[in-house]
């Protein structure tokens, strides 16, 4: 400090390189701090917890090695929740891909101006908060008089008991989640708009049928977005929580839902914050990370065979 008064060159005066480095540090500082406090630190902590029997209500925590992981693999509730989650993902992911693409192509048949209007309409369900969607579907799927069963009755079908019959709980949940297909529609619509018109004209000149145009022009040109939606929706569906938790779990007696609607992250949440088995729940979280990692890896690897990138 005392040297600062002596001359211009010493003390706080920074060279331009130092100044630049200082500013880079300032700009990136939020990320570094956040990375250590809210990401890397917690990840290591969670990994450590998964090797212990930590329970905030019990004073002594012991290192248990891989016991939590062994226990998880044998836990019937893990098996149930994993089955439910995979069941959901296997129907929901292809379902959103097909219906999202179908609806986006439907919008293409409308003119530019009203296309924008209907795109907005299709997106509206996504605007509703997930917990409100859960509440709404508790009403829509309710008993014999809910809107869904009234609609089915109108076309002569006696609807099932969506909320109490364990065979129909998951289909009801899939229907609820499919209602929010709008995000996928927007992604596909944007992607379809970017397919060069000349390609269709060229295909038409070559005498390509509608199906051939779709198969050989549209699909390859939008394969990048199909891949993106596939990866994002797979990851999201394996982590399904809010809507279903809002409907079937918490303080209300959950009945049939406690088995049929027990999704993986819901079980994890229960273990962590309702039973306070935080060591065990941490192990469940890392298993989930592993499953998601493997699935994403496979999707990325196989994508090279069918995703077409322009300029490659």
């Amino acid at each position: 400090m005392s040297t600062t008064t002596k001359g211009k060159r010493s003390g706080f005066h920074l060279t331009s390189a130092q100044n630049r480095r200082l500013w880079i540090t300032i700009f990136l500082a939020p990320w570094f701090i956040g990375f250590i406090i809210f990401l890397a630190g917690p990840m290591l902590w969670s990994l450590w917890l998964s090797l212990t029997n930590y329970d905030p209500l019990v004073p002594n925590t012991a290192f248990v090695g891989l016991d939590n992981y062994r226990e998880a693999v044998a836990d019937p509730k893990v098996q149930t929740s994993l089955f439910n989650t995979v069941f959901f993902a296997v129907i929901y992911v292809p379902g959103t891909l097909l219906s999202g693409l179908g609806l986006a192509m439907l919008l293409q048949g409308v003119g530019e101006r009203s296309g924008g209007f209907f795109r907005t309409v299709f997106y509206v369900p996504n605007v509703a908060p997930a917990v409100a969607v859960g509440a709404l579907f508790l009403l829509l799927l309710n008993g014999r008089d809910g809107l869904v069963n009234r609609g089915l009755e109108f076309i002569g079908i006696q609807g099932p008991s969506w909320l109490n019959d364990s065979r129909w709980i998951k289909p009801g949940i899939i229907a609820m989640m499919m209602w929010s297909v709008g995000t996928t529609v927007i992604i596909f619509y944007a992607s379809l708009q970017n397919v060069p018109k000349q390609l269709y004209e060229a295909a038409a000149i070559d005498g390509a049928t509608g199906w051939q145009r779709f198969r050989n022009v549209t699909l390859p040109m939008i394969s990048g977005s199909i891949f993106f939606v596939l990866v994002i929706n797979s990851i999201a569906s394996l982590q399904l929580f809010t809507e279903v938790y809002a409907m079937f779990f918490g303080q209300q007696p959950s009945g049939a839902g406690s088995e049929a609607a027990l999704f993986y992250v819901i079980y994890l949440f229960q273990q962590a914050f309702e039973f306070f088995n935080m060591g065990y729940a941490s192990a469940l979280a890392w298993l989930l990370f592993g499953v998601i990692g493997v699935i994403t890896f496979i999707q990325v690897k196989t994508s090279k065979r069918w995703v077409y990138y322009e300029g490659e």
Partner: protein, 299 residues
């Protein structure tokens, strides 16, 4: 909606000028419009129904017809008497505003650091930021709970937004894309004039990327307003609840005495949803652009 058929594009590849339309084409067109109408009803009607259900008398919520025997606005006052709705609304507004503004500013800072400056190791470092998006939120539930608990801040609103002070990978990625499109000459001129890097960011980069900043702000508003997991983990007292958490409390306890009050559940859902509908109505373009350009709803 009634204007839709009028501006239907007939110049496409399959549609023919009106005079040459065959009955088969007219039938096809009719089927097309019918399909469009069906999906419009499918996506919109449940929300319209919800609003009307919230105004029905208790025993008519599931009865046929959109409007009950009377319109009961007092359902809302009943709900206000039973639950601290104004308090929850205020909490939600505080969290939403702080979450959105802090994540916008911090992400814009980090994104600028990763786009304007060229330094050794920048790209690997940036990819590590992107890689963190892969991590499932569930891995961080417990340590975050323990950290905020150690700070003595559980059961306050801080855990619901303060993490946003450190930027979010998704928005950093998105804003960096925008910063990279700014011509470098703009900054060089300012550099000659002796402006600091901080000034360049604040007075040149930010004003020019305002549309993108608005997109980030709006997307994060939706994320913060709708967040239930965080509220379930961190909030204990009903006084501290956000609206999303409050609605969950209403779902958990939908009866007054022995009677189920579904119309109150509907009213609660309307209260939580309406602000998002308004936000969407005003910032439609930002929502859609945000999704179409980055491909996701803001997670």
């Amino acid at each position: 909606m009634s204007t839709a058929p009028a501006d239907v594009d007939t110049s496409g590849l399959t549609a023919q000028p009106k005079s040459e339309r065959t009955p088969a084409q007219i039938a096809k067109r009719a089927l097309f419009l019918l399909t469009l109408a069906f999906f419009t009803v499918l996506f919109i009607y449940p929300l319209v129904w919800l609003v009307f259900a919230s105004l029905k008398p208790p025993d008519e919520v599931f009865s046929a017809g959109l409007i009950g025997s009377e319109i009961r606005w007092e359902n809302y006052t009943t709900l206000f008497d039973l639950a601290p709705i104004p308090r929850w609304t205020l909490n939600s507004i505080i969290v939403t505003f702080l979450a959105a503004s802090s994540v916008t500013v911090s992400s814009a800072m980090v994104a600028f650091g990763f786009s304007y400056f060229r330094f050794k190791g920048r790209d690997p470092l940036f990819y590590s930021v992107i890689a963190t998006m892969m991590l499932p939120g569930a891995v961080l539930f417990i340590p975050k709970f323990l950290i905020w608990d150690a700070l003595g801040l559980n059961n306050t609103l801080y855990p619901l937004w303060a993490g946003n002070l450190f930027g979010s990978a998704f928005y950093i990625f998105m804003l960096r894309q925008f910063f990279l499109t700014l011509p470098r000459d703009l900054f060089e001129a300012a550099n000659v004039d002796g402006a600091s890097y901080g000034r360049m960011w604040w007075s040149i980069a930010l004003p020019l990327t305002k549309p993108a900043l608005v997109v980030v702000f709006i997307l994060e508003m939706k994320v913060a307003w709708t967040d239930l997991v965080g509220a379930l983990i961190f909030l204990r007292d009903p006084e501290k609840f956000t609206l999303a958490r409050g609605l969950k409390a209403i779902i958990d306890n939908p009866s007054v005495g022995l009677e189920s009050r579904w119309e109150l559940l509907a009213a609660g859902s309307v209260i939580v949803t309406l602000p998002m509908i308004v936000l969407f109505a005003i910032f439609q373009r930002e929502f859609v652009e945000g999704i179409a350009t980055t491909g996701s709803g803001g997670k």
